[in-house]
Point group: C2
Chain length 294, copies 2
């Protein structure tokens, strides 16, 4: 990772977090205090901001100049969608997690009803952010967000992961990961390109790139859970096996999982190549999905 890439990431994160704070400030007097507080609590709890970084990097590939507001709005909205999904995933009826990133989860802090509603609020307000302007690309953005975050995308993946009858096959695991993790990364890349004015064919190619990244990212996470260094990851290894989770290492072995992830990133980078050097940050983000220690 070059210093330039690192400083681009730091700067982009700062810009996105500034935009998140401005948006939360604008709720003052408009939104019940408790709701504003619970939305802010989860939205500002840190995290890598991977999805907003992808939005901005994808937009850069197609020249985002003059379209910064739409791009930033798309980046903010996708972080709101991601955050709502974490809040609902953590609920007692779902994963029943008490902590996330070392802090009490939303329902532990505010109660279950407030957590459900904080998620509902973030999801709905994400569409307010996306549709909050006159640029025609915003309509296409709304459609992309709904397609990838909804029943045909992330919510569908969550149902397959937690509620549907599980099949112990690679095809089923592929489908869960494609929807649950992949769809939001596909949305990130597609939304960045869309906000920058790319056409439908390009947007489709960016979706494919995002799905590949998501798949590789999940596979690498599975690898780390088997042989990662707990000190570097900030959590114990071996959780997946203990919980009898359906993972790639369990189905195809660690080495084949590692290789599959590398192949997917190779394919993604081949799709990115025609847009270099403008797509350099997107290319670097693709590379960072694998060969990582945490």
């Amino acid at each position: 990772m070059t210093d330039n890439f690192q400083s681009w990431m730091d700067g982009t994160r700062q810009r996105v977090e500034g935009a998140l704070r401005s948006m939360l400030d604008s709720y003052r007097g408009q939104v019940p205090e408790l709701l504003a507080e619970s939305m802010a609590y989860s939205l500002l709890a840190g995290g890598k901001r991977l999805r907003p970084l992808l939005v901005v990097a994808a937009a850069e590939a197609f020249g985002a100049s003059g379209r910064e507001r739409v791009v930033t709005d798309a980046a903010v909205a996708i972080e709101m969608i991601h955050t709502y999904s974490l809040i609902h995933d953590d609920l007692p009826a779902m994963d029943n997690d008490d902590f996330r990133r070392g802090m009490p989860t939303s329902h532990r802090k505010f109660g279950e009803a407030a957590a459900i509603l904080a998620g509902d609020g973030l999801l709905t307000e994400a569409f307010a952010v996306v549709s909050g302007g006159d640029e025609p690309s915003r309509l296409r953005l709304c459609a992309l967000f709904a397609r990838h975050a909804g029943a045909r995308g992330m919510v569908g993946g969550q149902v397959d992961d937690t509620v549907s009858e599980r099949e112990d096959t690679e095809a089923f695991l592929d489908q869960v990961n494609r929807r649950k993790t992949g769809d939001l990364l596909a949305l990130s890349c597609a939304a960045g390109a869309c906000a920058a004015g790319a056409n439908d064919e390009v947007i489709g190619s960016m979706q494919r790139i995002g799905w590949l990244m998501g798949h590789a990212f999940q596979q690498w996470d599975d690898v780390l859970d088997v042989e990662g260094d707990p000190a570097l990851m900030g959590k114990a290894a071996g959780n997946d096996a203990q919980q009898h989770k359906l993972t790639y290492p369990r189905l195809i072995g660690v080495e084949a999982t590692r290789q599959s992830a590398r192949n997917k990133i190779q394919e993604a980078r081949a799709l990115i190549a025609p847009w270099l050097p403008a797509a350099a940050h997107l290319d670097a983000l693709a590379g960072a999905m694998i060969d990582r220690k945490h």
Copy 2:
């Protein structure tokens, strides 16, 4: 209620339900079966379809000819939002209701995780329906939906109603009702006008009409709970008092509540009057909010 109005309502309900079924059919193969089933279960559970009727009636007032698809999409989407809100309201962490319209609630039928996700799916897919076309009015529609259904609207009202510290004042009750019931009716009227191509000033006036209707509707419900005929309502009276609910009759008395509702409908109908006769169905729907037996 004239025969014509009744047959218009029947026909419009039929059309909207047909569109809901087509949409659900389109999920086949795209959405996990269990999720499609749980979304369909609540969406097709009956109900008065008041919000879709308002959308269509408001659109008629401004000439919906040639814009039928956008109008129907707005009507379908608002019913999806309304249905998601009922599913989440019924959850154990919220109102903890086992039955709705004589059928087990979503979490009783499918489990709590599936019910949360059915709601999330309906909410997100509502935006897919609204943004599913090229007409420029759809972008404004997305913004209206997010404004009224989100943290500044319905979700905010739900937080005030179930989580925030309750104040026993008319101003607080007004605020809860305005957001919790009023915002979706305001959205219905505004969305119909927007889909029919009305300008911002008209849309603003339609929002006002919807809020007035919502307020009157809630007040009349409160009145019925005190002195309605259980046989006609299909449920026992006196529930609100038993549950120590904050209601208008408790704060200002039954007669003043009835009068307040009538005044609001009078104001709404005065705002509708300039658009008669095209707005005849909207006017009739406003009248039907009060002086009803169930």
